[in-house]
Symmetry: C2
Subunit: 144 residues, 2 copies
Amino acid sequence: MKIEDIQSVRDFNRFYTNIIGLLDNHILDSSYSLPEARVLFELNRQSSCTAREILNVIKIDKSYLSRMLTQFESSGLIRKKTSAEDGRAVQLTLTPKGKKAAYELDTASILQIKNMLKPISDQAQQQLLLHLQKIKLILSNPLT
Amino acid sequence: MKIEDIQSVRDFNRFYTNIIGLLDNHILDSSYSLPEARVLFELNRQSSCTAREILNVIKIDKSYLSRMLTQFESSGLIRKKTSAEDGRAVQLTLTPKGKKAAYELDTASILQIKNMLKPISDQAQQQLLLHLQKIKLILSNPLT
DNA sequence: TTATTTAGTTGACTTTGTCAACTAAATTTT
DNA sequence: AAAATTTAGTTGACAAAGTCAACTAAATAA
């Protein structure tokens, strides 16, 4: 492992952080903040989940999330219901309004990626996808 | 461009954002915040630069940066000096203390990357680097 | 059954980031 | 060259994001 290799990883990280930052900022033009969007996105993946499950995926402060969920409820995006199995936990489900919001965020995000890929030739796009997949694979299963 | 392709880009972005987030959080254990660390890093790349040059690279609010630089000065990390060529601009240079701080952040960051790469076989590491480079290339020169 | 852990909430913050209005120097327009 | 515009940076006044510690109540372990 040479020092230049480390530097090129760092360089890539800077580069990619910028790209993602640009994408995120555009989505932020919507009425939801980035953390709100992330949580809505997670709520939309699971049909019903608890705050804990969201925390396991997103890694934000639980008090922060708690307040966010309270606000989501009062603005009619989710419903909260004490879990039948675990009296401490709260089951969270998107209302139709919440689903609509999640759907719109999703659409905006897809559009962003589309725009990002638009100037790239089909061939290069396929290459890109391959590289992304490989990277994820290497980083998630380091032992191969 | 199929919808699954878009989804796999999004999936990669989520994945990689998490990784970078973890790295950043570790560096944040130092006495500097993430934005402070970024600015120190930039100051360290150029031997002397203006606030504007930093803004071109980092894209944060100028008032935010201005305050940060004031604070850097009063804590002895940088020196500010009105530019000879442009009376509006301020030349920023790291003091020895500032260089030391930048150096320590750099070291911490390098260590983080090292740890991230450690569990990966040499061969896979080389693959990884290749993929990162290719991605950067495709995204920065879309027309090839 | 007492002790510990876990899910979530609440209060009281700090940090991070934004917006608009401003000064002063530089540049462009007329 | 004088007036108008742009650019670099600062400041005030906030809003958003995120953190920390103390708490309740349910679940689990000793």
